[in-house]
């Protein structure tokens, strides 16, 4: 859930930044809570529906894989992240799209599996330029494994009158 939450926060940040003009023109709070109940087939061209959404799904998949999820688990959580974006983020300006609901995680996983295998192949060649190409194909492996390597630990503190957290970070 922590990984899902981190990706969800990123999705909101990216959406607010990249769609700021569209949000200013057409975004409303009313859209945000009405749109999730009316999904439909969108009218976007293939450059959006096939290429850009597959690329987004590819990064969702690679993110979960880089957090040590199995192939099927990474696919499932990519699906959940994609649904979260379609139904709770993008609804500020658009209704959820049936094409995006399916194609983002499914095409993304297909692309992601290929990217991951090719990235491993490049890293195995063990020269700086092949490593660079490997990281370009799968940049998610650059995100440090904080929790797994026990570099960061957090413990919530909940008392009658206060809520807090104790965080430690080893260097």
């Amino acid at each position: 859930m922590l990984n899902f939450g981190a990706l969800y926060a990123f999705q909101w940040s990216f959406y607010l930044y990249s769609q700021k003009d569209e949000i200013r023109r057409n975004g409303t709070l009313r859209n945000w809570y009405n749109h999730p109940f009316g999904p439909r087939f969108d009218k976007d061209s293939f450059e959006y529906n096939i290429f850009k959404h597959s690329l987004t799904g590819n990064y969702y998949y690679l993110f979960y894989r880089s957090r040590n999820y199995s192939e099927k688990d990474a696919f499932f959580w990519s699906f959940m992240s994609s649904l979260a974006f379609e139904f709770t983020v993008e609804t500020v300006t658009e209704v959820p799209s049936y094409q995006d609901i399916y194609q983002t995680p499914v095409f993304g996983a297909v692309l992601g599996i290929g990217s991951e295998k090719l990235s491993h192949y490049f890293h195995a060649k063990n020269t700086w330029y092949w490593h660079t190409l490997g990281y370009i194909l799968n940049p998610m492996t650059l995100i440090p494994q904080f929790a797994r390597e026990k570099k960061v630990a957090a413990m919530p503190i909940i008392d009658k009158n206060k809520v807090g957290a104790l965080v430690s970070w080893s260097f």
């Binding site: 087939f41 009218k43 061209s45 529906n49 099927k72 094409q99 499914v106 297909v110």
Partner: protein, 208 residues
């Protein structure tokens, strides 16, 4: 929407339990499987002379299936088809739900769903759209299809398939679209009675 949530429930169920045995062409393992393939298609356009006759092109498909038994599965699929018809580029997305049944190494599929069909004018609009700002048409309507395929297994465990399928599309609704920046805007909407008949030959692999 209900079908989508039912499918998500199935995906979740599939992840909760481990597969007991390996998937084989003649004995399917239960649970979630994803197949991806690509190939060629030929489509006959019965579209009131707006754009004509036969189109040929490439297509790619994915089948996300929940396999209930070693013979039977339900599927949620997408088949993206590109066609060149006279001056137009046709981009079709067939989103369908279906059933798959195995007979030895062979399988049959039956599916139905909806298919938005987009026709790009490429600077040559049909007569009735000349002089308008529309750059493409989007048709909507149901799609029905049947498929027959055969699965194979390589020594390294790779499962691959050959499949031939046929679809029938009923285009009930036609919308002319112009682009306003990055946003598609509908400039006119009419009823339509066009029909599409397609044949596909595909090759693909089971990716999990």
């Amino acid at each position: 929407m209900r079908l989508i949530f039912l499918f998500l429930l199935l995906i979740n169920t599939a992840l909760a339990k481990e597969e007991e045995y390996k998937f084989r062409p003649n004995y399917w393992s239960k649970g979630l499987h994803l197949a991806v393939g690509g190939g060629v298609n030929g489509t006959y356009y019965d579209a009131n002379e707006r754009f004509g006759n036969w189109g040929y092109g490439l297509n790619g498909k994915t089948d996300l299936g929940y396999f209930f038994t070693n013979r039977f599965a339900v599927e949620w699929s997408s088949n993206v088809k590109f066609n060149r018809v006279t001056n137009y580029l046709v981009f079709d997305t067939l989103i369908t739900f279906g059933l798959r049944y195995r007979i030895k190494d062979f399988y049959v599929r039956a599916f139905a769903g909806k298919a938005p069909t987009v026709v790009f004018f490429n600077g040559h609009p049909p007569k009735e759209y000349k002089g308008t700002s529309a750059s493409r048409l989007q048709y909507d309507g149901p799609v029905f299809g049947l498929a027959v395929g055969k699965m194979f297994e390589e020594k390294n465990g790779l499962i691959w398939f050959l499949e031939t399928s046929a679809t029938f599309q009923k285009l009930d609704d036609r919308q002319a679209i112009k682009m306003n920046g990055q946003t598609p805007v509908v400039v006119s909407r009419e009823k339509d009675s066009s029909r599409l008949y397609s044949l596909y030959f595909m090759i693909g692999v089971l990716i999990f």
